[in-house]
Symmetry: C2
Subunit: 341 residues, 2 copies
DNA sequence: ATGAAAGCGCTAACAG
DNA sequence: CTGTTAGCGCTTTCAT
């Protein structure tokens, strides 16, 4: 315990409030606010210096909770993803946190574990914590999303193409990306191209990547290859691929709708002693770092995580509805060894 | 807009406060608190029912910020990791969030990007947000950690063996784990075992896994194999392994001190057309899901993420200093194909 | 069993 | 340029 100028001071221990700083600097609490926030009123240079000195000596840290109560904003963004350990979402969450931090916002991320009820709870929790907006990769249907009670907190949908009335969407153009990936395989001469698709909670919803695969095949005059639905995990990709290999006729190429699925597929293929890409070629979707270091490295349809992060945060923080539309971001085909180039 | 019992109600839009609920239910705000929190005062069954009805109709969500101000706790835990996209930390963060959620706490996670200054900023940010505790995988030295002004907020160190006075530590027993992994390689007959180690910001600090490797080698009467320091990334593992392969004498086995490093190593090995485990065996550390799906699947020293999460949250939330010590958790050797078993 | 009111730390309108 | 004060939404003591 230290005594400074007759005041009892315990740097770093108990909570130091703005009142302590004011007393130490011999000013009112308002003045402390003015110097901390640079306004709204001017403060004499000498006074400001005394306040700053007091802040330093007392190791004062403003209480963001109190500030949030007063201001009606905690400068906090919320985010919900279906699987926070999926590298794609891990990278995306990180990117969004960086962009948000640059604007002075922190990111409170939640994991719905691909469960509707958990997502609802996550949403309620974020709402009660007064986040300024929620960036949401939902597992709910548009009508269910619309029905959530969010106290007027803005939301931004990511990672899907369907739209919810009044809720802006920022997403990769899954369908076009899938078209590009499958066309690349077709360009290699493949006629029998399978697809691995994530199973959706809502069976009526179709993955746009599935549509893109169909489109590319149809446009090339090819018949649709086998389709395997599975969990959006490495294990899911592994199991789906094993089922694929048990079929009477083996496809010559696989389009996996995520890196995770592709990584699982690779293992199944290796275990079956198949050579990649000679016996069977693989193209995946996402372009996470993991796809770069698999064996063989995956040719992949890369989503631009940075652009999504930028656009999502901008949409989340823009109060004007000028951005109330759906934004579709382009993909980039990354050529590596798994396609046979 | 809806009118209920003469009151103007807009479910889901503007903020509904406890005052609105009280008015709608025809009670005082105190009573609303009593029924929401189940105390501290009893409420007549009929009154409670009216309040609950009002909450439902108005879609009232308590304001956690205001509650935090009053209670002095936001029921929020903070966490800082050096790389949130490293699957190990992604899985650990998720596990901690689950454990925290079970106790009614949310988790605010930050990424220091292995940068000391960023970690300091992250810490300050969490402190000002009044988190109840900070779970920290630090890149700072013990004295630097101790020097941080944290306003008395408790911290728990994870992912390291060194201790900071007064700060409890929960960590895997890195050294023993490394010993087990290297011994396994020795048991396979390897005499020339290299190690891949993460480069530390603080060069004076040695990775306990490095020590474990030395110990196992010494105890077996073997000379130390080559050591490669590198970034704690897949790319880092890749580059380190390429350097390893350029050396005059190639080791017959590699101990990688993380899955990420091992995955990078695998790619370098494949590119060099080396057969794993025949030409060169690999054992890694962590036991993330990624290690299970690489080719070949990695024999790995698994950290118990769930135990770490449990212990870290318990330590973070226990005010008594009974847990003020260092806890070292045991590892488990997972045998897969990369070691040659 | 219920209500009135103080107070958590901060901001900003208003007054000097 | 500086100070006083009301109020953000909630909890809880103290009255009734």
């Amino acid at each position: 315990m230290v005594f400074v100028a007759g005041l009892q001071v315990q740097p770093g221990s108990g909570k130091v409030t703005r009142t302590d700083v004011a007393r130490y600097a011999g000013v009112s609490t308002a003045v402390v606010s003015y110097v901390i926030n640079g306004g709204p009123k001017p403060v004499a240079a000498a006074t400001a210096a005394r306040v700053r000195e007091a802040i330093k000596v007392l190791q004062y840290q403003p209480n963001a909770t109190a500030r949030a109560l007063t201001m009606g904003s905690a400068r906090l963004l919320g985010m919900i993803v279906p699987d926070s350990t999926n590298p794609y979402f891990a990278e995306l969450t990180d990117a969004i946190a960086q962009v948000a931090a640059a604007r002075g916002y922190a990111l409170l991320a939640a994991n719905s574990r691909t469960d509707a009820e958990t997502e609802r709870q996550n949403t309620l929790s974020l709402v009660s914590r007064q986040v300024d907006a929620i960036i949401l990769a939902t597992v709910l249907s548009p009508s269910e999303v619309a029905a959530m009670p969010v106290q007027g907190i803005p939301r931004v949908l990511i990672d899907q193409s369907s739209t919810v009335h009044g809720v802006p969407t920022v997403s990769t153009d899954f369908e076009q990306g899938a078209v590009a990936g499958v066309q690349h395989l077709i360009g290699h001469g493949h006629r029998d191209i399978a697809i691995l698709v994530g199973r959706d909670i809502d069976p009526s919803r179709v993955d746009p990547r599935h549509n893109g695969w169909k489109t590319a095949l149809r446009d090339a005059g090819l018949t649709e290859g086998p389709v395997e639905f599975t969990d959006f995990t490495r294990q899911g990709g592994y199991e789906a691929t094993r089922r694929l290999l048990e079929r009477p006729k083996r496809p010559t190429a696989i389009f996996a709708s995520s890196d995770l699925l592709a990584v699982g597929a690779l293992l199944a293929l290796h275990e079956a002693d198949l050579s990649i890409p000679d016996d069977i070629a693989v193209v995946s979707f996402d372009g996470t770092s993991e796809s770069e270091f698999s064996w063989p490295p995956l040719t992949t349809v890369r989503q631009s995580i940075n652009l999504i992060a930028e656009a999502a945060v901008r949409a989340a923080l823009s109060s004007d509805d000028s951005e109330g539309k759906a934004q579709l971001l382009a993909t980039e085909l990354i050529i590596r060894r798994s396609c046979g180039c």
